[in-house]
Symmetry: C2
Subunit: 309 residues, 2 copies
Protein backbone atom coordinates (compact mmCIF):
# COMPACT_ATOMS: atom_id res chain seq x y z
CA UNK A 1 0.00 0.00 0.00
CA UNK A 2 1.38 3.37 -0.99
CA UNK A 3 1.00 6.53 1.03
CA UNK A 4 -1.31 8.36 -1.35
CA UNK A 5 -4.09 10.38 0.18
CA UNK A 6 -7.30 11.52 -1.44
CA UNK A 7 -8.30 15.17 -1.66
CA UNK A 8 -12.06 15.65 -1.79
CA UNK A 9 -13.84 18.93 -2.51
CA UNK A 10 -17.58 19.36 -2.23
CA UNK A 11 -20.63 19.93 -0.09
CA UNK A 12 -20.97 19.20 3.59
CA UNK A 13 -24.60 19.37 4.61
CA UNK A 14 -27.34 18.69 7.06
CA UNK A 15 -30.05 16.66 5.31
CA UNK A 16 -33.67 16.00 6.14
CA UNK A 17 -34.74 12.87 4.33
CA UNK A 18 -37.95 10.88 4.19
CA UNK A 19 -38.09 7.41 2.63
CA UNK A 20 -40.58 4.54 2.91
CA UNK A 21 -38.41 3.26 5.80
CA UNK A 22 -38.54 6.40 7.95
CA UNK A 23 -37.06 9.84 8.31
CA UNK A 24 -33.85 11.61 9.26
CA UNK A 25 -33.86 15.23 10.46
CA UNK A 26 -30.90 17.50 9.85
CA UNK A 27 -28.61 14.51 9.73
CA UNK A 28 -25.03 14.58 8.51
CA UNK A 29 -24.90 14.64 4.71
CA UNK A 30 -23.26 16.25 1.69
CA UNK A 31 -21.35 14.82 -1.26
CA UNK A 32 -17.91 15.52 0.21
CA UNK A 33 -18.94 13.92 3.49
CA UNK A 34 -20.19 10.66 1.99
CA UNK A 35 -17.25 10.36 -0.39
CA UNK A 36 -14.64 11.26 2.24
CA UNK A 37 -15.90 8.75 4.75
CA UNK A 38 -16.16 6.04 2.07
CA UNK A 39 -12.59 6.78 0.91
CA UNK A 40 -11.35 6.76 4.50
CA UNK A 41 -11.81 2.98 4.70
CA UNK A 42 -8.85 2.70 2.34
CA UNK A 43 -6.74 5.87 2.44
CA UNK A 44 -6.13 9.07 4.37
CA UNK A 45 -8.44 11.83 3.17
CA UNK A 46 -8.23 15.62 3.12
CA UNK A 47 -11.60 17.32 2.84
CA UNK A 48 -12.37 20.79 1.47
CA UNK A 49 -15.78 22.24 2.24
CA UNK A 50 -17.67 24.80 4.23
CA UNK A 51 -20.14 24.65 7.11
CA UNK A 52 -21.86 27.15 9.37
CA UNK A 53 -21.53 27.71 13.05
CA UNK A 54 -24.58 25.47 13.53
CA UNK A 55 -22.66 22.43 12.31
CA UNK A 56 -22.48 20.01 15.25
CA UNK A 57 -18.93 19.51 16.45
CA UNK A 58 -19.66 15.82 16.87
CA UNK A 59 -19.76 15.56 13.05
CA UNK A 60 -16.29 17.08 12.75
CA UNK A 61 -15.10 14.74 15.47
CA UNK A 62 -16.55 11.82 13.49
CA UNK A 63 -14.74 12.85 10.30
CA UNK A 64 -11.50 13.19 12.23
CA UNK A 65 -12.05 9.80 13.88
CA UNK A 66 -12.06 8.37 10.34
CA UNK A 67 -8.61 9.87 9.70
CA UNK A 68 -10.00 12.71 7.60
CA UNK A 69 -7.97 15.91 7.66
CA UNK A 70 -10.46 18.74 8.26
CA UNK A 71 -8.02 21.64 7.92
CA UNK A 72 -9.79 22.49 4.65
CA UNK A 73 -13.23 22.46 6.21
CA UNK A 74 -14.08 26.13 6.72
CA UNK A 75 -16.44 27.04 9.53
CA UNK A 76 -18.19 30.37 8.83
CA UNK A 77 -18.88 32.26 12.07
CA UNK A 78 -22.57 33.07 12.36
CA UNK A 79 -23.25 31.13 9.15
CA UNK A 80 -25.75 28.35 8.58
CA UNK A 81 -24.81 25.00 7.06
CA UNK A 82 -26.13 23.93 3.64
CA UNK A 83 -29.44 22.17 4.20
CA UNK A 84 -31.17 19.80 1.79
CA UNK A 85 -34.56 18.21 2.32
CA UNK A 86 -36.03 15.53 0.11
CA UNK A 87 -38.11 12.40 -0.17
CA UNK A 88 -37.77 9.13 -2.03
CA UNK A 89 -40.65 6.99 -3.21
CA UNK A 90 -41.28 4.10 -5.54
CA UNK A 91 -38.08 2.77 -7.06
CA UNK A 92 -35.98 5.14 -4.92
CA UNK A 93 -33.83 6.09 -7.91
CA UNK A 94 -34.90 9.71 -7.95
CA UNK A 95 -35.11 12.12 -5.03
CA UNK A 96 -37.90 14.67 -4.83
CA UNK A 97 -36.31 17.82 -3.49
CA UNK A 98 -38.44 19.69 -0.95
CA UNK A 99 -35.92 22.36 0.01
CA UNK A 100 -32.40 23.46 -0.89
CA UNK A 101 -30.99 26.11 1.43
CA UNK A 102 -27.46 26.83 0.21
CA UNK A 103 -26.60 29.13 3.15
CA UNK A 104 -22.79 29.29 3.55
CA UNK A 105 -22.39 26.98 0.53
CA UNK A 106 -23.68 29.80 -1.69
CA UNK A 107 -20.38 31.67 -1.35
CA UNK A 108 -18.13 28.61 -1.16
CA UNK A 109 -14.76 29.34 -2.77
CA UNK A 110 -12.61 26.28 -2.27
CA UNK A 111 -9.23 27.40 -0.95
CA UNK A 112 -6.72 24.62 -0.54
CA UNK A 113 -4.50 24.76 2.52
CA UNK A 114 -0.81 24.65 1.56
CA UNK A 115 -0.58 21.11 2.92
CA UNK A 116 -3.24 19.96 0.41
CA UNK A 117 -1.67 21.22 -2.81
CA UNK A 118 0.62 18.24 -3.30
CA UNK A 119 -2.37 15.90 -3.51
CA UNK A 120 -2.13 13.20 -6.15
CA UNK A 121 -5.66 11.75 -5.97
CA UNK A 122 -8.41 14.30 -6.30
CA UNK A 123 -12.16 13.94 -6.29
CA UNK A 124 -14.20 16.98 -7.25
CA UNK A 125 -17.64 16.15 -5.92
CA UNK A 126 -20.71 17.88 -7.30
CA UNK A 127 -20.16 21.64 -7.12
CA UNK A 128 -20.24 24.51 -9.62
CA UNK A 129 -17.97 23.41 -12.50
CA UNK A 130 -16.27 26.81 -12.47
CA UNK A 131 -15.14 26.09 -8.92
CA UNK A 132 -14.04 22.61 -9.97
CA UNK A 133 -11.78 24.27 -12.56
CA UNK A 134 -10.29 26.58 -9.94
CA UNK A 135 -9.48 23.60 -7.75
CA UNK A 136 -7.77 21.81 -10.62
CA UNK A 137 -5.63 24.93 -11.17
CA UNK A 138 -4.27 24.56 -7.65
CA UNK A 139 -3.20 20.92 -8.05
CA UNK A 140 -0.15 20.62 -10.29
CA UNK A 141 0.86 17.24 -8.89
CA UNK A 142 -2.42 15.40 -9.41
CA UNK A 143 -1.93 11.85 -10.61
CA UNK A 144 -5.62 10.94 -10.88
CA UNK A 145 -8.41 13.50 -10.96
CA UNK A 146 -12.09 12.66 -10.91
CA UNK A 147 -15.33 14.63 -10.93
CA UNK A 148 -19.02 14.23 -10.38
CA UNK A 149 -21.84 16.61 -11.26
CA UNK A 150 -25.64 16.92 -11.27
CA UNK A 151 -28.55 17.89 -13.52
CA UNK A 152 -28.46 21.50 -12.26
CA UNK A 153 -24.99 22.14 -13.74
CA UNK A 154 -25.67 20.11 -16.89
CA UNK A 155 -28.46 22.50 -17.81
CA UNK A 156 -26.98 25.61 -16.17
CA UNK A 157 -23.28 25.58 -17.03
CA UNK A 158 -22.76 23.02 -19.79
CA UNK A 159 -19.65 24.67 -21.23
CA UNK A 160 -17.76 24.92 -17.94
CA UNK A 161 -18.85 21.36 -17.18
CA UNK A 162 -17.45 20.07 -20.46
CA UNK A 163 -14.20 21.89 -19.74
CA UNK A 164 -13.90 20.11 -16.38
CA UNK A 165 -14.60 16.80 -18.12
CA UNK A 166 -11.85 17.54 -20.63
CA UNK A 167 -9.36 18.08 -17.81
CA UNK A 168 -10.04 15.18 -15.44
CA UNK A 169 -9.13 11.51 -15.76
CA UNK A 170 -12.39 10.08 -14.46
CA UNK A 171 -15.97 11.29 -14.94
CA UNK A 172 -18.53 9.81 -12.57
CA UNK A 173 -22.08 10.35 -13.82
CA UNK A 174 -25.39 8.62 -13.34
CA UNK A 175 -27.44 7.23 -16.21
CA UNK A 176 -30.08 9.97 -16.17
CA UNK A 177 -27.45 12.72 -16.11
CA UNK A 178 -25.50 11.05 -18.90
CA UNK A 179 -28.59 11.03 -21.10
CA UNK A 180 -29.33 14.65 -20.18
CA UNK A 181 -25.78 15.76 -20.96
CA UNK A 182 -25.48 14.01 -24.31
CA UNK A 183 -29.07 13.91 -25.53
CA UNK A 184 -28.36 10.25 -26.32
CA UNK A 185 -30.52 7.46 -24.92
CA UNK A 186 -28.15 4.55 -25.56
CA UNK A 187 -25.77 4.53 -22.58
CA UNK A 188 -22.86 2.97 -24.46
CA UNK A 189 -23.05 5.58 -27.20
CA UNK A 190 -23.55 8.37 -24.65
CA UNK A 191 -20.50 7.17 -22.69
CA UNK A 192 -18.45 7.29 -25.87
CA UNK A 193 -19.53 10.90 -26.41
CA UNK A 194 -18.33 11.90 -22.93
CA UNK A 195 -15.14 9.90 -23.43
CA UNK A 196 -14.45 11.97 -26.54
CA UNK A 197 -14.38 15.10 -24.38
CA UNK A 198 -11.11 13.85 -22.91
CA UNK A 199 -11.45 11.81 -19.72
CA UNK A 200 -9.74 8.42 -19.78
CA UNK A 201 -12.59 6.77 -17.91
CA UNK A 202 -16.33 7.41 -17.88
CA UNK A 203 -18.01 5.58 -15.03
CA UNK A 204 -21.79 5.41 -15.27
CA UNK A 205 -23.59 4.81 -11.99
CA UNK A 206 -26.87 2.97 -12.55
CA UNK A 207 -28.06 2.50 -8.97
CA UNK A 208 -29.78 -0.86 -8.58
CA UNK A 209 -28.39 -1.89 -11.98
CA UNK A 210 -24.74 -1.50 -11.07
CA UNK A 211 -22.08 0.54 -12.80
CA UNK A 212 -20.33 0.52 -16.14
CA UNK A 213 -16.86 1.85 -16.96
CA UNK A 214 -16.07 3.07 -20.46
CA UNK A 215 -12.50 3.42 -21.68
CA UNK A 216 -10.44 2.95 -24.82
CA UNK A 217 -13.39 3.15 -27.25
CA UNK A 218 -15.45 0.49 -25.49
CA UNK A 219 -17.14 -0.59 -22.31
CA UNK A 220 -14.23 -2.08 -20.42
CA UNK A 221 -16.02 -3.16 -17.25
CA UNK A 222 -19.55 -3.86 -16.13
CA UNK A 223 -20.13 -4.19 -12.38
CA UNK A 224 -23.23 -5.74 -10.84
CA UNK A 225 -25.04 -3.98 -8.05
CA UNK A 226 -25.20 -5.77 -4.74
CA UNK A 227 -28.67 -7.30 -4.45
CA UNK A 228 -30.39 -5.70 -1.48
CA UNK A 229 -33.95 -6.56 -0.59
CA UNK A 230 -34.31 -3.24 1.18
CA UNK A 231 -32.87 0.20 0.54
CA UNK A 232 -33.33 2.38 3.60
CA UNK A 233 -31.99 5.67 2.21
CA UNK A 234 -30.30 6.08 -1.18
CA UNK A 235 -28.88 9.53 -0.32
CA UNK A 236 -25.14 9.61 -0.90
CA UNK A 237 -24.92 6.31 -2.78
CA UNK A 238 -23.19 7.86 -5.77
CA UNK A 239 -20.80 9.82 -3.55
CA UNK A 240 -20.01 6.70 -1.52
CA UNK A 241 -19.31 4.92 -4.79
CA UNK A 242 -16.89 7.63 -5.92
CA UNK A 243 -15.28 7.75 -2.48
CA UNK A 244 -14.75 4.00 -2.31
CA UNK A 245 -13.28 4.11 -5.81
CA UNK A 246 -10.88 6.95 -5.01
CA UNK A 247 -9.89 5.58 -1.62
CA UNK A 248 -8.97 2.23 -3.10
CA UNK A 249 -7.19 3.52 -6.21
CA UNK A 250 -5.01 5.78 -4.03
CA UNK A 251 -3.58 2.64 -2.39
CA UNK A 252 -2.52 1.03 -5.65
CA UNK A 253 0.93 1.33 -7.14
CA UNK A 254 -0.33 1.93 -10.69
CA UNK A 255 -3.48 2.94 -12.51
CA UNK A 256 -3.79 -0.37 -14.34
CA UNK A 257 -7.08 -1.59 -15.82
CA UNK A 258 -7.16 -4.34 -13.19
CA UNK A 259 -6.80 -1.85 -10.36
CA UNK A 260 -9.48 0.41 -11.83
CA UNK A 261 -11.88 -2.53 -12.05
CA UNK A 262 -11.25 -3.38 -8.42
CA UNK A 263 -11.78 0.27 -7.51
CA UNK A 264 -15.21 0.15 -9.20
CA UNK A 265 -16.11 -2.92 -7.14
CA UNK A 266 -14.94 -1.26 -3.93
CA UNK A 267 -17.01 1.76 -4.92
CA UNK A 268 -20.04 -0.48 -5.43
CA UNK A 269 -19.32 -2.14 -2.10
CA UNK A 270 -19.27 1.13 -0.18
CA UNK A 271 -22.40 2.39 -1.96
CA UNK A 272 -24.25 -0.82 -1.12
CA UNK A 273 -23.48 -0.42 2.58
CA UNK A 274 -24.35 3.26 2.61
CA UNK A 275 -27.95 2.76 1.45
CA UNK A 276 -28.62 0.31 4.27
CA UNK A 277 -29.21 3.11 6.77
CA UNK A 278 -29.95 6.82 6.93
CA UNK A 279 -27.24 9.48 6.71
CA UNK A 280 -23.77 8.00 7.32
CA UNK A 281 -25.04 5.70 10.04
CA UNK A 282 -24.05 2.46 8.29
CA UNK A 283 -20.51 3.75 7.76
CA UNK A 284 -20.24 4.56 11.46
CA UNK A 285 -20.38 0.86 12.30
CA UNK A 286 -18.83 -0.51 9.09
CA UNK A 287 -15.74 -2.71 9.46
CA UNK A 288 -12.98 -3.76 7.10
CA UNK A 289 -13.94 -7.45 7.36
CA UNK A 290 -17.49 -6.54 6.28
CA UNK A 291 -16.07 -4.75 3.25
CA UNK A 292 -13.92 -7.76 2.44
CA UNK A 293 -16.88 -10.13 2.75
CA UNK A 294 -19.03 -8.05 0.46
CA UNK A 295 -16.26 -7.73 -2.12
CA UNK A 296 -16.16 -11.52 -2.17
CA UNK A 297 -19.95 -11.59 -2.54
CA UNK A 298 -19.64 -9.34 -5.58
CA UNK A 299 -17.16 -11.81 -7.00
CA UNK A 300 -19.42 -14.75 -6.25
CA UNK A 301 -22.60 -13.36 -7.82
CA UNK A 302 -20.99 -12.51 -11.16
CA UNK A 303 -18.87 -15.63 -11.50
CA UNK A 304 -19.45 -18.06 -14.33
CA UNK A 305 -17.26 -20.74 -15.80
CA UNK A 306 -15.36 -20.73 -19.06
CA UNK A 307 -17.00 -22.20 -22.12
CA UNK A 308 -16.90 -25.93 -22.63
CA UNK A 309 -13.90 -26.60 -24.79
CA UNK B 1 -23.11 -33.22 -25.06
CA UNK B 2 -26.23 -35.18 -24.21
CA UNK B 3 -29.05 -35.84 -26.63
CA UNK B 4 -31.67 -33.68 -24.90
CA UNK B 5 -33.92 -31.64 -27.11
CA UNK B 6 -35.95 -28.60 -26.18
CA UNK B 7 -39.72 -28.47 -26.60
CA UNK B 8 -40.98 -24.92 -27.15
CA UNK B 9 -44.63 -23.89 -27.18
CA UNK B 10 -45.78 -20.41 -28.11
CA UNK B 11 -46.61 -17.88 -30.77
CA UNK B 12 -45.38 -17.85 -34.33
CA UNK B 13 -46.15 -14.54 -35.92
CA UNK B 14 -45.67 -12.04 -38.69
CA UNK B 15 -44.56 -8.75 -37.16
CA UNK B 16 -44.54 -5.22 -38.46
CA UNK B 17 -42.04 -3.23 -36.46
CA UNK B 18 -40.81 0.35 -36.59
CA UNK B 19 -37.75 1.48 -34.64
CA UNK B 20 -35.47 4.52 -34.95
CA UNK B 21 -33.31 2.34 -37.24
CA UNK B 22 -35.99 1.44 -39.76
CA UNK B 23 -38.95 -0.80 -40.34
CA UNK B 24 -39.82 -4.43 -40.97
CA UNK B 25 -43.12 -5.40 -42.62
CA UNK B 26 -44.82 -8.71 -41.84
CA UNK B 27 -41.45 -10.21 -40.97
CA UNK B 28 -40.98 -13.53 -39.19
CA UNK B 29 -41.63 -13.17 -35.46
CA UNK B 30 -43.33 -14.72 -32.44
CA UNK B 31 -42.03 -15.86 -29.07
CA UNK B 32 -41.75 -19.52 -30.05
CA UNK B 33 -39.90 -18.57 -33.21
CA UNK B 34 -37.25 -16.44 -31.52
CA UNK B 35 -36.73 -18.89 -28.67
CA UNK B 36 -36.63 -21.95 -30.94
CA UNK B 37 -34.07 -20.48 -33.28
CA UNK B 38 -31.94 -19.26 -30.34
CA UNK B 39 -32.09 -22.71 -28.73
CA UNK B 40 -31.23 -24.37 -32.04
CA UNK B 41 -27.66 -23.08 -31.82
CA UNK B 42 -27.15 -25.58 -28.97
CA UNK B 43 -29.76 -28.35 -29.14
CA UNK B 44 -32.39 -29.93 -31.36
CA UNK B 45 -35.73 -28.17 -30.92
CA UNK B 46 -39.36 -29.26 -31.33
CA UNK B 47 -41.74 -26.35 -31.84
CA UNK B 48 -45.47 -26.24 -31.07
CA UNK B 49 -47.45 -23.39 -32.56
CA UNK B 50 -49.98 -22.41 -35.15
CA UNK B 51 -49.88 -20.37 -38.35
CA UNK B 52 -52.29 -19.57 -41.16
CA UNK B 53 -52.15 -20.51 -44.79
CA UNK B 54 -50.56 -17.12 -45.46
CA UNK B 55 -47.41 -18.09 -43.55
CA UNK B 56 -44.57 -18.07 -46.07
CA UNK B 57 -43.17 -21.56 -46.64
CA UNK B 58 -39.68 -20.03 -46.66
CA UNK B 59 -40.06 -19.40 -42.92
CA UNK B 60 -40.86 -23.05 -42.26
CA UNK B 61 -37.91 -24.00 -44.42
CA UNK B 62 -35.72 -21.67 -42.34
CA UNK B 63 -36.87 -23.27 -39.06
CA UNK B 64 -36.18 -26.72 -40.47
CA UNK B 65 -32.77 -25.60 -41.72
CA UNK B 66 -31.99 -24.83 -38.08
CA UNK B 67 -32.82 -28.41 -37.09
CA UNK B 68 -36.17 -27.44 -35.63
CA UNK B 69 -38.81 -30.16 -35.77
CA UNK B 70 -41.98 -28.47 -37.12
CA UNK B 71 -44.32 -31.46 -36.78
CA UNK B 72 -46.04 -29.54 -33.97
CA UNK B 73 -46.48 -26.39 -36.05
CA UNK B 74 -50.12 -26.49 -37.17
CA UNK B 75 -51.02 -24.80 -40.44
CA UNK B 76 -54.70 -23.80 -40.45
CA UNK B 77 -56.13 -23.97 -43.99
CA UNK B 78 -57.62 -20.65 -44.98
CA UNK B 79 -56.43 -19.13 -41.69
CA UNK B 80 -54.38 -16.00 -41.18
CA UNK B 81 -51.20 -15.95 -39.10
CA UNK B 82 -51.00 -13.98 -35.83
CA UNK B 83 -49.91 -10.45 -36.68
CA UNK B 84 -48.39 -7.93 -34.30
CA UNK B 85 -47.47 -4.35 -35.15
CA UNK B 86 -45.55 -2.06 -32.87
CA UNK B 87 -43.03 0.71 -32.55
CA UNK B 88 -40.10 1.40 -30.24
CA UNK B 89 -38.84 4.82 -29.27
CA UNK B 90 -36.57 6.39 -26.69
CA UNK B 91 -34.87 3.81 -24.54
CA UNK B 92 -36.37 0.96 -26.60
CA UNK B 93 -37.33 -0.94 -23.46
CA UNK B 94 -41.04 -0.74 -24.06
CA UNK B 95 -42.93 -1.48 -27.27
CA UNK B 96 -45.94 0.60 -28.25
CA UNK B 97 -48.42 -1.84 -29.72
CA UNK B 98 -50.24 -0.56 -32.78
CA UNK B 99 -52.14 -3.72 -33.65
CA UNK B 100 -52.60 -7.25 -32.35
CA UNK B 101 -54.48 -9.53 -34.74
CA UNK B 102 -54.64 -12.92 -33.08
CA UNK B 103 -56.19 -14.66 -36.11
CA UNK B 104 -55.49 -18.43 -35.91
CA UNK B 105 -53.67 -17.90 -32.58
CA UNK B 106 -57.02 -17.02 -30.99
CA UNK B 107 -58.08 -20.67 -31.02
CA UNK B 108 -54.64 -22.15 -30.44
CA UNK B 109 -54.89 -25.36 -28.42
CA UNK B 110 -51.40 -26.80 -28.16
CA UNK B 111 -51.57 -30.48 -29.04
CA UNK B 112 -48.30 -32.30 -28.69
CA UNK B 113 -47.48 -34.87 -31.34
CA UNK B 114 -46.77 -38.29 -29.79
CA UNK B 115 -43.09 -37.85 -30.61
CA UNK B 116 -42.94 -34.71 -28.45
CA UNK B 117 -44.34 -36.09 -25.19
CA UNK B 118 -41.08 -37.55 -23.96
CA UNK B 119 -39.48 -34.11 -23.93
CA UNK B 120 -37.24 -33.37 -20.96
CA UNK B 121 -36.55 -29.67 -21.53
CA UNK B 122 -39.66 -27.57 -21.97
CA UNK B 123 -40.09 -23.85 -22.55
CA UNK B 124 -43.61 -22.48 -22.33
CA UNK B 125 -43.29 -19.14 -24.09
CA UNK B 126 -45.82 -16.39 -23.45
CA UNK B 127 -49.32 -17.82 -24.05
CA UNK B 128 -52.53 -18.08 -21.99
CA UNK B 129 -51.45 -19.63 -18.67
CA UNK B 130 -54.37 -22.08 -18.86
CA UNK B 131 -52.85 -23.44 -22.06
CA UNK B 132 -49.44 -23.58 -20.40
CA UNK B 133 -50.98 -25.80 -17.71
CA UNK B 134 -52.47 -28.10 -20.33
CA UNK B 135 -49.07 -28.48 -21.96
CA UNK B 136 -47.45 -29.35 -18.63
CA UNK B 137 -50.10 -32.07 -18.15
CA UNK B 138 -48.90 -33.74 -21.33
CA UNK B 139 -45.22 -33.88 -20.28
CA UNK B 140 -44.67 -36.46 -17.56
CA UNK B 141 -40.95 -36.82 -18.31
CA UNK B 142 -39.97 -33.19 -18.10
CA UNK B 143 -36.64 -32.68 -16.38
CA UNK B 144 -36.57 -28.88 -16.59
CA UNK B 145 -39.64 -26.77 -17.31
CA UNK B 146 -39.59 -23.02 -17.84
CA UNK B 147 -42.16 -20.37 -18.61
CA UNK B 148 -42.46 -16.79 -19.69
CA UNK B 149 -45.51 -14.51 -19.62
CA UNK B 150 -46.60 -10.92 -20.25
CA UNK B 151 -48.51 -8.03 -18.65
CA UNK B 152 -51.76 -9.12 -20.35
CA UNK B 153 -51.90 -12.41 -18.40
CA UNK B 154 -50.60 -10.90 -15.17
CA UNK B 155 -53.63 -8.64 -15.05
CA UNK B 156 -56.06 -10.98 -16.81
CA UNK B 157 -55.40 -14.43 -15.38
CA UNK B 158 -53.26 -14.01 -12.25
CA UNK B 159 -54.45 -17.20 -10.55
CA UNK B 160 -53.75 -19.50 -13.50
CA UNK B 161 -50.43 -17.72 -13.96
CA UNK B 162 -49.42 -18.35 -10.34
CA UNK B 163 -50.38 -22.01 -10.76
CA UNK B 164 -48.05 -22.30 -13.76
CA UNK B 165 -45.28 -20.64 -11.75
CA UNK B 166 -45.83 -23.14 -8.94
CA UNK B 167 -45.38 -26.04 -11.36
CA UNK B 168 -42.34 -25.01 -13.40
CA UNK B 169 -38.66 -24.99 -12.48
CA UNK B 170 -37.75 -21.68 -14.08
CA UNK B 171 -39.74 -18.46 -14.35
CA UNK B 172 -38.46 -15.95 -16.89
CA UNK B 173 -39.93 -12.51 -16.33
CA UNK B 174 -38.89 -8.97 -17.11
CA UNK B 175 -38.46 -6.30 -14.45
CA UNK B 176 -41.64 -4.38 -15.28
CA UNK B 177 -43.73 -7.57 -15.27
CA UNK B 178 -42.16 -8.70 -12.01
CA UNK B 179 -43.14 -5.44 -10.35
CA UNK B 180 -46.64 -5.67 -11.84
CA UNK B 181 -47.11 -9.26 -10.65
CA UNK B 182 -45.90 -8.70 -7.10
CA UNK B 183 -46.74 -5.07 -6.47
CA UNK B 184 -43.20 -4.79 -5.11
CA UNK B 185 -40.73 -2.25 -6.47
CA UNK B 186 -37.53 -3.78 -5.07
CA UNK B 187 -36.52 -6.44 -7.60
CA UNK B 188 -34.73 -8.65 -5.07
CA UNK B 189 -37.73 -8.72 -2.77
CA UNK B 190 -40.10 -9.21 -5.70
CA UNK B 191 -37.99 -12.13 -6.97
CA UNK B 192 -38.19 -13.71 -3.54
CA UNK B 193 -41.98 -13.45 -3.66
CA UNK B 194 -42.13 -15.29 -6.99
CA UNK B 195 -39.61 -17.83 -5.73
CA UNK B 196 -41.97 -18.58 -2.85
CA UNK B 197 -44.63 -19.64 -5.34
CA UNK B 198 -42.51 -22.68 -6.09
CA UNK B 199 -40.08 -22.31 -8.99
CA UNK B 200 -36.46 -23.17 -8.21
CA UNK B 201 -35.16 -20.28 -10.31
CA UNK B 202 -36.55 -16.84 -11.02
CA UNK B 203 -34.68 -15.15 -13.86
CA UNK B 204 -35.36 -11.45 -14.21
CA UNK B 205 -34.62 -9.99 -17.63
CA UNK B 206 -33.62 -6.34 -17.38
CA UNK B 207 -32.85 -5.53 -21.02
CA UNK B 208 -29.90 -3.14 -21.24
CA UNK B 209 -29.17 -3.80 -17.56
CA UNK B 210 -28.62 -7.53 -17.91
CA UNK B 211 -30.32 -10.36 -16.04
CA UNK B 212 -30.46 -11.61 -12.48
CA UNK B 213 -31.14 -15.15 -11.29
CA UNK B 214 -32.74 -15.73 -7.90
CA UNK B 215 -32.52 -19.11 -6.17
CA UNK B 216 -32.15 -20.56 -2.68
CA UNK B 217 -33.36 -17.45 -0.83
CA UNK B 218 -30.96 -15.08 -2.54
CA UNK B 219 -29.72 -13.61 -5.77
CA UNK B 220 -27.37 -16.33 -6.97
CA UNK B 221 -26.20 -14.76 -10.21
CA UNK B 222 -26.07 -11.34 -11.80
CA UNK B 223 -25.28 -11.18 -15.51
CA UNK B 224 -24.19 -8.05 -17.34
CA UNK B 225 -25.81 -7.07 -20.59
CA UNK B 226 -23.58 -6.93 -23.60
CA UNK B 227 -22.78 -3.26 -24.26
CA UNK B 228 -24.20 -2.37 -27.65
CA UNK B 229 -23.97 1.15 -28.99
CA UNK B 230 -26.95 0.51 -31.22
CA UNK B 231 -30.05 -1.60 -30.80
CA UNK B 232 -31.75 -2.07 -34.15
CA UNK B 233 -34.87 -3.93 -33.01
CA UNK B 234 -35.47 -5.21 -29.47
CA UNK B 235 -38.36 -7.48 -30.52
CA UNK B 236 -37.75 -11.04 -29.36
CA UNK B 237 -34.82 -10.25 -27.06
CA UNK B 238 -36.45 -11.90 -24.05
CA UNK B 239 -37.48 -14.93 -26.09
CA UNK B 240 -33.99 -15.24 -27.54
CA UNK B 241 -32.63 -15.09 -23.99
CA UNK B 242 -34.92 -17.89 -22.84
CA UNK B 243 -34.16 -19.92 -25.97
CA UNK B 244 -30.41 -19.59 -25.55
CA UNK B 245 -30.75 -20.57 -21.90
CA UNK B 246 -32.86 -23.63 -22.66
CA UNK B 247 -30.80 -24.71 -25.64
CA UNK B 248 -27.62 -24.65 -23.61
CA UNK B 249 -29.00 -26.24 -20.46
CA UNK B 250 -30.35 -29.17 -22.52
CA UNK B 251 -26.76 -30.02 -23.47
CA UNK B 252 -25.51 -30.24 -19.90
CA UNK B 253 -25.31 -33.46 -17.93
CA UNK B 254 -26.76 -31.93 -14.75
CA UNK B 255 -28.68 -28.87 -13.60
CA UNK B 256 -25.86 -27.57 -11.44
CA UNK B 257 -25.60 -23.94 -10.37
CA UNK B 258 -22.54 -23.55 -12.58
CA UNK B 259 -24.41 -24.85 -15.62
CA UNK B 260 -27.38 -22.60 -14.91
CA UNK B 261 -25.08 -19.57 -14.72
CA UNK B 262 -23.54 -20.46 -18.04
CA UNK B 263 -27.03 -20.90 -19.48
CA UNK B 264 -27.90 -17.36 -18.38
CA UNK B 265 -24.80 -16.04 -20.15
CA UNK B 266 -25.63 -17.98 -23.31
CA UNK B 267 -29.14 -16.55 -23.08
CA UNK B 268 -27.69 -13.04 -22.78
CA UNK B 269 -25.40 -13.78 -25.71
CA UNK B 270 -28.22 -14.84 -28.01
CA UNK B 271 -30.39 -11.89 -26.93
CA UNK B 272 -27.55 -9.48 -27.64
CA UNK B 273 -27.17 -10.78 -31.18
CA UNK B 274 -30.90 -10.80 -31.84
CA UNK B 275 -31.34 -7.07 -31.23
CA UNK B 276 -28.65 -6.22 -33.77
CA UNK B 277 -31.06 -6.62 -36.67
CA UNK B 278 -34.78 -6.78 -37.44
CA UNK B 279 -36.81 -9.96 -37.13
CA UNK B 280 -34.57 -13.05 -36.97
CA UNK B 281 -32.17 -11.65 -39.53
CA UNK B 282 -29.13 -11.64 -37.25
CA UNK B 283 -29.72 -15.28 -36.32
CA UNK B 284 -29.83 -16.19 -39.99
CA UNK B 285 -26.16 -15.31 -40.34
CA UNK B 286 -25.03 -16.07 -36.78
CA UNK B 287 -22.21 -18.59 -36.37
CA UNK B 288 -21.00 -20.73 -33.47
CA UNK B 289 -17.61 -18.95 -33.39
CA UNK B 290 -19.40 -15.61 -33.04
CA UNK B 291 -21.34 -17.00 -30.07
CA UNK B 292 -18.11 -18.27 -28.52
CA UNK B 293 -16.40 -14.91 -29.02
CA UNK B 294 -19.24 -13.01 -27.40
CA UNK B 295 -19.40 -15.43 -24.46
CA UNK B 296 -15.72 -14.65 -23.90
CA UNK B 297 -16.50 -10.93 -24.15
CA UNK B 298 -19.11 -11.34 -21.41
CA UNK B 299 -16.43 -12.98 -19.31
CA UNK B 300 -13.96 -10.21 -20.02
CA UNK B 301 -16.22 -7.27 -19.19
CA UNK B 302 -17.24 -8.59 -15.77
CA UNK B 303 -13.84 -9.84 -14.68
CA UNK B 304 -12.08 -8.36 -11.70
CA UNK B 305 -9.28 -9.65 -9.55
CA UNK B 306 -9.43 -11.08 -6.06
CA UNK B 307 -8.85 -8.75 -3.13
CA UNK B 308 -5.33 -7.91 -2.15
CA UNK B 309 -4.38 -10.37 0.53
Amino acid sequence: MSEGHVLIVGSVALDSVKTPSGTAERALGGAATYSSVAASFFSPVKIVGVVGEDFPTEHIAFLESRGIDTEGLQVVPGGKTFHWAGTYEGDMNQANTLATELNVFQDFRPELPESYTSSEFVFLANIDPELQLKVLDQLPNAKLTAMDTMNFWISGKPDALREVMSRVDVVFINDAELRQLTGTVNLTKASAQVHELGPKYVIVKKGEHGAVMYCDQSTCFSAASYPLDEVIDPTGAGDSFAGGFMGYIATTPALTPDNLRKAVVYGSTLASFNVQDFSLNRFKRLTKPEIADRYEEFKRIVFFEEMDS
